[in-house]
């Protein structure tokens, strides 16, 4: 069964609702740099990361075209294929700007996705927490030892 997984818990409810209402096959919520906050439908983490990097790239590059045209930016984009469509939308929250990538099939439509994307954006804006300011170092003073061990095992050394 496809499920929703989130790095940041406040995203789960709005995302679940969106998936049910819009009939989206896959959905990714991410930062403009392509870092994933939540996803629905993907079974392999590697596909999530690659899709997020590519989605962020599409958004950045079309944003650059918008700038050249004197537009502010394109807030939503759609790519229509024969079996699937890909919708990309942006929203501004207290957590910063976020991007949503939606893959939908023939059992949904662009109109449906756009309609419920607006709801999703509103719910995410309400739910987004102001980023916490943490004091104190994140990593232990000797983090290099663990890092070196991790990298050594990564390279089979």
């Amino acid at each position: 069964m496809r499920r929703t997984r989130a790095v940041e818990a406040w995203t789960i409810e709005p995302l679940n609702r969106f998936v049910v209402e819009s009939g989206a096959r896959f959905t990714l919520l991410m930062t403009p740099a392509g870092q994933v906050l939540a996803q629905h439908g993907f079974t392999r983490a590697v596909d999530v990361m690659a899709s997020a990097a590519l989605g962020a790239a599409i958004f950045s590059s079309t944003g650059e075209i918008a700038r050249m045209l004197g537009e502010r930016e394109f807030r939503a984009l759609n790519h229509q294929g024969r079996q699937y469509g890909v919708f990309l939308g942006a929203l501004d929250t207290d957590r910063g700007k976020l991007l949503v990538l939606v893959v939908y099939g023939s059992d949904s439509s662009l109109g449906l996705v756009q309609l419920f994307f607006d709801d999703l954006a509103e719910q995410l804006v309400v739910a987004a927490p102001v980023p916490e300011v943490r004091r104190g170092p994140i990593l232990a003073a000797d983090f290099e030892r663990e890092l070196n061990e991790s990298l050594a095992s990564l390279f089979g050394r």
Binding site: T31, R135, I138, F143, E146, L147, G156
Partner: protein, 199 residues
């Protein structure tokens, strides 16, 4: 910009391999991809032209494991080196936590290295960043070529390394220096991340 989640204890950082065209940025990622076990890396995505020159970027996600209790991931990107792709270089550079500058050690490529380094600095400044504050290491690639064709690491340090940054001689095709470079930039990125949080 790195993503740190204290609830799920996850860190995700973005590292960009920068440098002139054909200096070996993609080769670095290809070597890493080839060496790392399947379960520790994702699919390598390459947006390249028909002649295999990088058009937009290469992307390789790496799972480092647990560091100080945080599941740590690095997203490695390359930029297109060719001069006329500057707008896409800027896009890839956005949100970078660290940069590896891959220089081509060939004597005849020195001007291209300098131009690319200046381009990196001007792009960082446009993003309100700076080479002095951004974690950065230099890699002098193609050191395996005949000595008469290349500059030695000390000569390249003289020409490019104004700030005394860590620098590594490499032959990325055979993996020489690739690991050391990644290790150095990883340390710098994580140290900066930790220091910024403690301020």
């Amino acid at each position: 910009m790195s993503l740190v989640n204290f609830t799920t204890r996850e860190i995700t950082c973005k590292i960009v391999y920068y440098g002139p065209g054909r200096s070996g940025k993609t080769t670095n990622l290809q070597y890493i991809y080839g060496r790392v076990p399947d379960d520790r890396r994702g699919r390598m995505v390459s947006l390249a032209t028909e002649t295999e020159r990088t058009l937009f970027f290469d992307f390789l996600p790496l799972e480092l494991g647990t560091i100080s209790g945080f599941t740590t991931r690095f997203h490695l990107y390359t930029v297109p080196g060719q001069v006329y792709y500057n707008s896409t270089r800027k896009l890839v550079l956005q949100g970078a936590d660290g940069v590896v500058f891959v220089a081509d050690s060939q004597v005849r490529q020195l001007d291209e290295n300098i131009e690319s380094l200046q381009n990196l600095q001007s792009n960082l400044i446009e993003m309100d960043d700076d080479m002095r504050s951004m974690p950065l290491v230099l890699q002098y690639n193609k050191q395996d070529l005949p000595p008469q064709l290349i500059l030695r690491p000390l000569e390249l340090d003289e020409a490019l390394n104004f700030w005394g940054l860590p620098s590594f001689a490499s032959d990325a095709l055979r993996g020489v220096g690739v690991f050391e470079t990644l290790k150095a930039i990883s340390e710098q990125v994580l140290r900066k991340l930790s220091e910024e949080a403690s301020q």
